[in-house]
Symmetry: C2
Subunit: 261 residues, 2 copies
């Protein structure tokens, strides 16, 4: 049974920055091994990030990708659908962003917009977002049945911390632009948003693609927990060893290098 966001408790704090950095480095190494294993076995992995503005999705994604080979991972920031996309099924624009063999795709917001912002801001009729819970699970089931691993992370912050982060942005001329009217409006509707997120977590967490709701008032803890969830779901049972070289190719290479096999 999924916990309600209001019942989430902050995870243990790190003793200091060095403690956090050691934890981070360990997981970043594991993430790189995972990426390489996916590359070799032509596997596909999807990591979904959801959460309100200033929850730290961007920072968590950056820590997840910064040591990876950028050729093997795509991050897709998902905004409001364009007018052209609004004329199509809401899942349409995600199909073309799914990973190709060997690749990871990370979504900074996702198809869950249908049951979050579109519900809260009344961008689609209630019938449409109610129907979406089942549709999304079926969509993910198709992916999982086709061999794609799907990890989903929801970053939850308390309204107080969200306001603190907005204030911080406002006070920093290089970060001010991050604050938009949409953030202010969304903060006012925070309660509606949390109710929608609670429904989403309860109705779309399933065995093949479980949600991990993370208390993200501590950015450090949230980044580590997000990495742990991605590693657990995408890494389960995966052989991390690099593939052996084809003996024929090995011989040919040694000949080229002027050495004996």
């Amino acid at each position: 049974m999924t916990k309600r966001l209001g019942d989430l408790r902050p995870g243990p704090r790190f003793a200091d920055k060095a403690d956090y950095e050691a934890a981070l480095e360990k997981r970043q190494r594991a993430m790189l091994s995972l990426q390489q294993a996916y590359w070799h076995a032509k596997r596909r992995g999807v990591i979904v990030f959801e959460g309100p503005d200033a929850a730290g999705k961007g920072g968590a994604i950056r820590r997840m990708t910064e040591t990876l080979d950028p050729r093997g991972v795509h991050v897709w920031p998902i905004g409001a659908p364009t007018p052209e996309e609004q004329g199509r099924h809401y899942l349409y624009r995600f199909w073309q962003r799914l990973p190709t063999p060997g690749m990871l795709a990370i979504f900074d917001r996702s198809w869950y917009g249908r049951v979050l912002v579109e519900r809260v801001d009344r961008l689609c009729p209630p019938k449409a977002w109610k129907r979406a819970f089942g549709e999304i699970v079926e969509f993910e089931r198709m992916l999982v049945d086709d061999g794609v691993r799907v990890a989903k992370v929801f970053l939850h912050i308390t309204p107080e911390v969200q306001l603190e982060r907005f204030a911080e942005r406002l006070g920093d001329p290089t970060k001010r632009w991050k604050l938009t009217q949409a953030d202010i409006d969304a903060h006012r509707k925070g309660g509606d948003y949390r109710r929608a997120a609670d429904d989403m977590l309860a109705r779309t967490s399933w065995k093949g693609a479980p949600w991990k709701a993370i208390h993200a008032d501590s950015k450090w803890r949230a980044r580590i927990d997000a990495l742990d969830h991605a590693l657990a779901v995408l890494g389960k049972g995966i052989d991390m060893r690099p593939p052996p070289i084809d003996p024929k190719l090995h011989k040919a290479a040694l000949r080229m290098l002027g050495r004996r096999a």
Copy 2:
């Protein structure tokens, strides 16, 4: 007038690793400012990497992107076209990978495959790759006229250094898989490949999208030079200051935070 690859000379070496790292950090900071400026102004930038196997394209790309916001940059590794793609125009698959407003796209190999590997391996008739020089310049001109900046980097390594790097890969069980039969075949045809690259540099370097051919026997030097070229082409005349906040939004934000404007 473009130099022939055989006439390229290695750039100055760095005194030591700290010297290289200081140079790198400075450029990575500039690259991040550039990315933010592109994001704010909804500009689009393209960086093309070409060069033989083991020239260090992957490492140079990683240094270029590792401090950027991964949501604003996509790296596209370009392999042989799929059978479906072969049935279409060779430029087709690049159109859909061009950056959207605010984004950077980095190509690890590109449309130049037409006049490099496809020419050398006779994957298309001579008439087709001869026609491609002009087609490619026209394609890039359309992009540049549409406001896209295009920087192109060719990493050149000597055959000796290429063999050294192959030997290193072969000796490292975690890197062996990087060596393929295609690498061995390509090394044998190194002379043909360099001639094709010389033609390409001479015929497709133009004012709007100049090539930078870099002697890449030193990986450190090559990474710095590649960053310098990208920064010069994409950064020329760009206002790097963060945009001011809308005064109305500023007021609304201060009200929300319970402060006076």
